[in-house]
């Protein structure tokens, strides 16, 4: 019963991107996928469906909240919104991610070898 983790991403990356995107503005699932794809210039190949387990996890942790609403295309959708706790979590995650990235970059940096 292992959890399926998006192979291309490290654990937590998808959640981080979702929170970052929602920080800009609340939106529903479909829009969220499109937005992440758009901003990453389609560099990240994510399975659209994998968004939903991630959203459920965030909901459970209380980092986002969801409300049913009618979208611009006149469709009943669930709009996700960043909570204060989610905002803090995002900050922590981003800063730890940056530290990690810096470390990896330094190791990978040419010239040392």
């Amino acid at each position: 019963m292992k959890k399926t983790i998006q192979r291309d991403l490290f654990p937590g990356a998808l959640e981080m991107m979702i929170l970052r995107t929602l920080k800009r503005q609340p939106m529903h699932g479909y829009a969220l996928v499109q937005e992440i794809k758009r901003t990453s210039d389609d560099l990240l190949q994510i399975e659209e469906g994998s968004l939903y387990p991630a959203l459920q996890r965030l909901l459970k942790e209380g980092f986002v909240k969801a409300e049913w609403a009618i979208s611009s295309t006149n469709r009943r959708v669930r709009i996700y919104k960043l909570t204060a706790a989610g905002g803090k979590h995002l900050e922590r995650e981003v800063s730890s991610f940056e530290r990690m990235l810096k470390g990896i970059t330094q190791v990978l940096a040419p010239g040392e070898l």
Partner: protein
């Protein structure tokens, strides 16, 4: 409760999730179609890009689910299936556990009901017994009851205390109720003001006694117990205000106490006010039980100090008559030792119950060891299955959990069966009703007992599941997969756990058998003690009381008793008859007084030591089978002539005059107004207070004594020696004989002296039976344990044994080899067990009599028994080993 809400809102969560995912797909399709794709193609594309809808939904749902709980349900189902597949293992394991749990649940229920639960009074923790000790008044103040209160003491305490809400004294007794077709002797409790108030239980009907009812010579009042009310009046509420005749005096019924109400530890039929005559009280008269309710917040230490403070007030406020010194009681060193009432009720049975609980706990451990062994064998045979599951990716925790769930399930099922057995056990215990077990009618399996049993079941399940689970779930080895079912030799390591368990079982069984053995020795020692009467089975006893109101004049009382004796002696089959103020061990409160000896000088305030005294009729000694050591018995002629003659016990004669014969012709008396009485006989020592207690020094007065405050003894125990003792026809004739003398005299405490004797050793018998049961269970479980392990070992070593036999070993060699292995285990267990017993049997010193806690004979006998039994248990597997056919054994290769 957040998780609870989650549980119920889960369905909604899942529905919304499906809806959301569908909306996503719809939107995607719509967009793709808008981009120029065909409907079919758009749907395929949307699905491809979305991924596996079912899996994603499941993964999303899993976020909310409790995987562990759901897995455990799976484990339970799997475990049940596994248990069903091996019914023999399941049955044996269940039986072992169920018996262990039943014994524990039953004993715990007794401990809980008797020792742990509060008494049935409102705010029972405030209730205390006014216990006090008086080291200077040896005899009068015995260890168990201490120094009881005198009425004057009660008045002082009631009026001057600062720590009690209410305080009173009470005393048990008997009375004759005569306004019925047949006179009846009933159990009574006399109460002072304050007793009912302290206990605080309101009457079921009517009212309590008021202070007005405590006026001496006032109108007689009485309250009924619920049982007596039902039995005599059929529960008629109109009895209030009616009169009944108690000891020939009319008394008005004012109330009925509710069902189950007892005075501390005493059942009763009637209770009446003591109505002390305050003006006539003296200091002495220490015969009343004190009871009180503490003020909220007052401690027992404060209350003790309060009573100690009032003792001088008591001595200054009252006297023992003109010329007496009230401060002689300072020499008694009276010290208040107030006890919680519960302690008073429980008495000395607490220790016994805890010892039994401890031994039964050990039986449980032995049962668990057996179950562990069974589990070990079982898990070993399931190694292949486990290895396959692990190879398929089941984690170690998962496997361990599965095995634990299985063993805990066994524990719980065993627990259910155990509770059923325990219920039967407790019911029969109450039905048998060991009379020395206090609060017997309260014993039941309650919620706490069920809780205990449940926890015990789960814990034992964990205990016997954990060792096998941890042992056989190491990293998956290809060896296990390959070798399962093959007969490669088993490593030493694998045997170690089982051997350890057997050693532990033997050691624990030894400790239990040792304690049972010590009790058997105690019982044997008790049987050897000469109680001071002979052949109790053929000694019929009964008590008859002649109240003042029926016959006032002392000599007529004695003549009536004499007439009864004559009638009884005439009954067919009666060899001899007699009476005494009480029989040994009857539990009647004894009388004590100072006894002065003529040739001794008692100077100043020095008071003569207190001695127990009794009255006996001519012919009593011969009837009871009590030996006359020196001198002679009195005759009826001497009794009526008021000849100043007396008899003493052998130990008293030795203390006073050196030898029994030297006592003859000496003189003694109780107080100065009494004439000196000549010692004419010396009687053997009698175990008056019970077989286990030292025989007290006793003065035997005749039934009628000159110049005594109570010249005749009014309540006596008649004894008859007859082969017919105890039979119904005999008792009918006895009753008729007594009625023919006076029809207003009921018989009470009709029993043979064998009953009295059994009662005296009841505590020892109960302990013996309990420890005997525990020891037998331990022995049986231990045998099963050794047998099981040896059988398994032999089965495992078939091939090795086959090779040995093929190489020329004789059957005898193999037999010896297996027996040696079993004996080694048993010996190690016995050695450890002896060490443990040495440390533990000391705990039961107080239950023993005539044998030390480290009795060498018991130790040697029990150790030998256990080794012998262990060898027997090994013999069958060993025999089987010699029958191994080498060809068959080796063919398995």
């Amino acid at each position: 409760m957040n998780w609870l809400r989650q549980l119920f809102s889960r369905q909604r969560l899942y529905r919304e999730l499906s809806e959301e995912i569908q909306a996503h797909l719809d939107e995607k399709v719509e967009e793709l179609v808008a981009g120029g794709m065909s409907g079919q193609e758009a749907l395929r594309c949307a699905r491809r890009e979305f991924g596996n809808v079912g899996l994603i939904e499941e993964n999303s749902r899993e976020v909310w689910a409790w995987p562990s709980v759901e897995d455990v349900f799976f484990d339970i189902r799997y475990g049940l299936r596994a248990l069903r597949h091996s019914p023999v293992f399941t049955a044996v394991a269940l039986l072992t556990i169920a018996i262990g749990i039943a014994a524990n649940a039953a004993v715990f229920s007794v401990v809980n009901s008797v020792l742990l639960k509060p008494l049935h009074y409102p705010r029972a923790e405030e209730l205390v017994a006014l216990h006090q000790i008086a080291p200077g008044a040896e005899g009068l103040a015995d260890f168990e009851n201490g120094l009881l209160l005198s009425p004057s003491m009660y008045f002082t305490y009631a009026e001057h205390n600062q720590t009690f809400q209410s305080l009173g004294v009470w005393i048990t007794g008997t009375a004759n109720v005569t306004d019925m077709p047949e006179p009846e002797q009933v159990r009574t409790v006399g109460v002072s003001d304050g007793v009912l108030q302290a206990l605080g239980v309101p009457p079921a009907v009517g009212r309590w006694f008021s202070q007005m009812d405590q006026v001496p010579n006032g109108p007689g009042r009485v309250m009924l117990s619920y049982g007596y009310w039902q039995r005599r009046f059929g529960g008629d509420r109109a009895v209030i205000g009616r009169n009944i005749t108690v000891d020939s005096q009319p008394r008005e019924i004012v109330g009925v106490m509710p069902q189950g109400f007892r005075f501390v530890d005493s059942d009763f039929d009637l209770t009446a006010p003591l109505a002390f005559n305050r003006g006539k009280l003296i200091l002495a008269g220490f015969g009343f039980n004190g009871i009180a309710r503490l003020k909220p917040g007052a401690s027992i230490a404060q209350a003790n100090a309060d009573l100690a403070r009032m003792l001088p007030i008591w001595m200054d406020s009252w006297s023992n008559g003109p010329g007496s010194n009230p401060h002689i009681y300072e020499g008694w060193r009276i010290t208040p030792m107030i006890r919680p009432l519960k302690l008073q009720v429980i008495g000395n049975v607490g220790e016994l119950l805890w010892v039994v609980m401890g031994t039964i706990g050990v039986v449980m451990l032995i049962a668990c060891a057996n179950a562990t062994n069974l589990m070990l064998v079982r898990v070993e045979t399931r190694q292949q299955e486990l290895a396959v599951r692990m190879a398929l990716g089941a984690g170690r925790t998962r496997i361990v959990r599965g095995l634990l769930v299985e063993s805990v399930m066994l524990g719980i099922i065993g627990g259910f069966a155990g509770v059923g057995l325990a219920y039967v056990g407790v019911r029969s215990l109450v039905a048998i009703g060991p009379s020395n077990l206090p609060r017997l009618n309260e014993i039941a399996i309650d919620a706490r007992g069920l809780g205990f049993t449940f926890v015990l079941s789960v814990l034992s399940g964990l205990l016997f599941g954990l060792i096998p689970a941890l042992k056989y779930t190491g990293p998956p080895s290809s060896l296990a997969l390959q070798s399962a079912g093959r007969t490669i030799s088993v490593s030493r390591d694998r045997h170690r756990a089982r051997n350890l368990l057997v050693v532990g079982q033997v050691a624990m069984a030894l400790v239990l058998l040792m304690s049972a053995g010590l009790m058997i020795r105690t019982f044997g020692a008790l049987r050897k003690v000469d109680p001071g009467f002979a052949d109790p089975q053929h000694l019929q006893a009964m008590r008859i009381s002649i109240p003042d109101s029926l016959i006032a004049e002392p000599e007529r009382v004695t003549r009536t008793q004499n007439a009864i004796l004559d009638k009884l002696a005439a009954i067919q089959g009666v060899k001899s008859v007699g009476f005494a103020s009480d029989m040994p061990m009857e539990g009647v409160d004894s009388d004590w007084d100072e006894i002065f000896v003529q040739d001794k000088v008692y100077s100043g305030d020095l008071i003569a030591p207190l001695r127990l005294y009794k009255s006996i009729s001519p012919g009593f000694l011969q009837t009871a089978g009590t030996r006359l050591v020196a001198g002679r018995e009195m005759t009826w002629g001497e009794v009526y002539a008021l000849r100043p003659e007396v008899m003493v016990s052998e130990n008293l004669a030795r203390e006073m005059w050196g030898t029994p014969s030297a006592a003859i012709g000496k003189h003694l008396r109780e107080f100065s107004a009494m004439p000196w009485h000549e010692v004419i006989g010396v009687i053997q020592d009698v175990r008056e207070k019970g077989i286990q207690e030292q025989a007290p020094e006793i003065v035997y007065w005749p039934p009628l004594v000159q110049n005594r405050f109570a010249p005749a003894i009014r309540t006596v125990t008649f004894v008859m020696r007859s082969e017919r003792a105890g039979t119904e026809s005999f008792l009918n004739e006895v009753r008729a004989a007594v009625q023919s003398v006076n029809s207003d005299l009921p018989l009470a405490s009709v029993r043979t002296m064998q009953d009295v004797y059994d009662q005296s050793v009841a505590r020892t018998s109960l302990t013996l039976v309990m420890l005997g049961i525990a020891g037998t269970m331990a022995l049986a479980l231990g045998i099963i344990g050794i047998y099981g392990v040896m059988s398994y070992t032999v089965a495992q070593r078939r091939r090795e044994i086959g090779i040995r036999l093929a190489l020329g070993a004789q059957g005898g060699d193999v037999l010896q080899m297996v027996l040696r292995q079993g004996a080694k285990l048993a010996l190690v267990g016995v050695v450890i067990g002896i060490g443990a017993s040495f440390a533990l049997t000391g705990l039961m010193t107080n239950l023993l009599f005539g044998v030390t806690a480290h009795d060498p004979l018991t130790f040697v006998a029990v150790a030998a028994l256990l080794i012998l039994v262990a060898l027997l248990a090994c013999y069958i597997p060993a025999r089987r080993a010699t029958l191994v056919d080498p060809i068959v054994a080796l063919r398995y290769e």
